[in-house]
Amino acid sequence: MIHDIEYETMPREALEAIQLRRLQSTLARVYSSVPFYKKAFEEAGIVPSDIKTLSDLKLVPFTTKTDLRDNYPFDMFAVPMDNVVRIHASSGTTGKPTVVGYTARDIGTWSNLMARALAAGGAGRGDIIHNAYGYGLFTGGLGVHYGAERLGASVIPVSGGNTKRQVVIMKDFGPTIITCTPSYALHLAEVAEDVGVSFDSLTFKFGIFGAEPWSEKMREEIERKLNLTAVDIYGLSEVMGPGVAIECYEEKKGLHIFEDHFIPEIVDPKTLEPLPHGETGELVFTSLTKEAFPVIRYRTRDITSLNPEPCSCGRTHLRMNRVTGRSDDMLIIRGVNVFPSQIESVLMETEEVEPHYQLVVDRKDNLDVLTVNVEVSEGSFTDEVRGLQVLEKRITKNIKELLGVSAKVKLVEPKAIDRSQGKAVRVVDNREI
């Protein structure tokens, strides 16, 4: 079902006219209200009125996660704090989170886009949505929640964790839609099986899965084990949260980006030159309607391509293909963003080990398991096993405190970590996704 027929099926020409008008207004607004953007525009030698067509967007400088971090916590906000009604945050490269804000109107826009996304994924009024995205600073839980209410569906705010209880709720409440990360969906299937509940006896029709990369193979597995149709949803808190792009259940072939609210671009991650449709590069977003936290040419670091082919569902918004990787070394572990540099900062503060480390990610029983291999250092090596075990535990605790992720710390011998061309291989991702 299409939630917002007028905008979602708008002819390209009319859509692009709206985009240009909204882009010009957004650029004028950030230039006058966010010192960071004013300075960036000045350094690039442009003023907002130089942007006369959509293709002029390429003149505008990029925004990176580092820029957001440098303006921690609220300096990227384009409205005074008394207009901000909601704050979310996601983890940043050095442990400092990226903070995003929403005005009441932003929450309304987000709810509307999320309602569109749920509808594209098969939900409608009368559906019961089992929302197992985490509620909190993470945008997943509340984003889906508001969209579900806007759509007129019944939402169960079950959040993450307590999986056995979730199985009971799924059995007793009869939800028809499930929203969670794809890995949690598979975990739910296993726990259900353990307690003797078959998804064949449940009432699910559709599942809307996102917040981490997954594959067609994983989709087949989820659809088989959960007995439903699985669609992919995309979003990131810096751009808005979930509901930036969604697959339609009719095609399940690429995610429609809500282009009346966001302009997507694909750029070469090295030269930063825009690439034509169909070519693979880094996804860049400019927000068109956000008030509190507009983003201009924000580099998502996600690698994908754009597909302008018309879609049988009737939506005219172009589609992004599945995200196939990152242009930086960020890992998503159980929905939490983890940068190797964060682990490094924990190790730098630990005298007893070398800052030589390797992150190994595996997927066991459908849950991500992070192992941190650390080289013991010569100077502080103790011959007492107990002392070394205490050291492992201390690093584990510090990682958990800074990143909010449980890791298994494993001490290894010096030089045990592969160094290719003198540079350590920091991340080994064994997950088959």
Partner: protein, 143 residues
């Protein structure tokens, strides 16, 4: 009166221990006693050798993490209750034993035990006062 022991950090993977013995063999270092402590991930190999400095250097040159610790070598009467008597002395003097292991050869009629203990000097005094012989490095390496 203390004896120098070297300890080597080892990952739990096959062939690692034999690499240590190969390096020592090549350098003609003789192992006099050893003990291996291990966890599921890693182990610590403790060695008494006839040339501590040389062993340390060659192992370090081959990329091993090597530590040096002082331990106490004690003559223990080779009869029932021999070890018990010494441990009782430590216990009463509130001296904690971190770990211990047996030396390969005996010294006359006595066995030799290697102790890693707290308050080493105090412990050595205590042993002497109670008529227990402590063996120094030079003698130990030539037993």
């Amino acid at each position: 009166m203390q004896v120098e022991q070297i300890s080597v950090f080892l990952e739990n993977k096959s062939g690692r221990l034999s690499e240590v013995t190969a390096i020592l063999t090549e350098s003609e270092v003789n192992i006099r006693a050893l003990a291996l402590a291990d966890t599921s991930d890693f182990g610590v190999l403790r060695l008494l050798v006839d040339d501590t400095e040389k062993a340390r250097q060659v192992l370090k040159n081959n990329g091993f993490t090597v530590g040096k610790t002082n331990v106490v070598a004690v003559e223990v009467p080779d009869k029932p209750g021999g070890l018990h008597r010494i441990l009782t002395l430590f216990y009463k003097a509130d001296i904690n034993v971190e770990y211990m292991y047996a030396f390969v050869r005996s010294s006359g009629d006595n066995a030799v035990m290697i102790f890693r203990i707290e308050k080493e000097d105090e412990a050595i005094d205590l042993l002497h006062k109670n008529g227990v012989n402590v063996i120094d490095g030079e003698r130990l390496y030539t037993i």
